[in-house]
Symmetry: C2
Subunit: 181 residues, 2 copies
DNA sequence: TCAGGTGCTGACCGATCGGTCAGGCATGCT
DNA sequence: AGCATGCCTGACCGATCGGTCAGCACCTGA
């Protein structure tokens, strides 16, 4: 197989992201990614140690931002935590629409990987913050609906600009979340 | 491989549902399903023509209810459509938590199958109804957040009773959806 | 007693998966 | 010229996928 231009690291990364968002992580083969950039499967594995490593590198910026949000949440309570969590997560979801979208559905499975082990705990803390740290079922249900809804929705609006998506998501989050007592 | 009791059709169906919700459709092999009920992979394919056929039969009741909701929506507009859509979809999501949950993430891919071709159109009409048939981006964003959020949330609350989950979801839906103008 | 159907099985199939490996082919330094 | 290095490749590997098939054990009605 002939290559016109050298397949760069980043070129493969964005191609993989594109495929993952369409057919999911498990549903995308290294062959698919290679075909997208016009190189061989072996080339993909030359640039990345494994398929998992590719995913990790793809998710790294989003995960870093998630960890930063988690740190910012520490110590906050009630309405304050709720507001910071909502704004932070909307920013994250809007900024990393593709990355968030590709995790949907495969979340529970991918979280088994040691590289993503702590994400589960972070997202649980995030849900708790969305609920204003209330343990009432209704508050927790509302929190999860908003969190999951935002994550899912971002992937569907890949075409509209950030400055339009962001306030729309924030508005629905503020309406939907239960006011803290 | 020895079997104590005969593997019934339904036993396989529920086992498959359980696995699908944990590891997804693509992520679950016929071997996994067979292991869960303690029979051979060939037995699974004796009861079901194919893996796809198994999925179709699993989803049939939920799809029937979705089609019924779609029919009930015909002709309705504005707040009326919004209310009927919300109540109908919450009922559907609560009643078929597992089935809804297993479709998440693999939705775009599974919809390619001819058996599910019309589901895409139905869900688009459902989103439109949630938005009160407004074409304002904010209304459509809110609609999708609520729809996707409810679908995703149900799969996470498999343990709490219907009569507790239902009003909680309806409440957050009513708060979150934009009032029709 | 025996023929026929039902439920189920292990063995097997081709395809595809993620991953390995030796080597080809440029390019640039010595 | 000779050599090393970086990028890339086809061929190949074992594992696993969904699916097929001949045949076994069992039950039942004739």
């Amino acid at each position: 197989m002939a290559r016109a231009t050298p397949a760069t690291h980043d070129e493969l990364l964005t191609a993989a992201a594109r495929r993952f968002t369409v057919t999911g992580y498990k549903g995308t083969s290294l062959q698919d990614i290679a075909r997208e950039v016009g190189c061989s499967k072996a080339t993909v594995l030359y640039h990345f140690a494994s398929k998992d490593a590719l995913l990790c590198e793809l998710m790294a910026p989003a995960i870093a931002m998630l960890e930063e949000l988690d740190a910012r949440l520490a110590g906050r309570t009630g309405a304050d935590a709720q507001r910071v969590a909502a704004e932070g997560f909307v920013d994250l979801a809007v900024g990393f629409r593709r990355e968030i979208a590709l995790l949907r559905g495969e979340f529970p499975d991918l979280l088994q990987q040691p590289a993503f082990a702590h994400i589960q705990q972070i997202s649980e803390r995030l849900v708790a913050a969305f609920a204003g740290f209330s343990d009432r079922p209704a508050a927790r249900v509302a929190a999860l609906v908003v969190l999951a809804g935002i994550a899912e929705t971002c992937g569907e609006f890949l075409d509209i600009p950030d400055e339009e998506l962001r306030p729309a998501l924030l508005a629905v989050a503020h309406r939907a979340l239960e006011p803290t007592t």
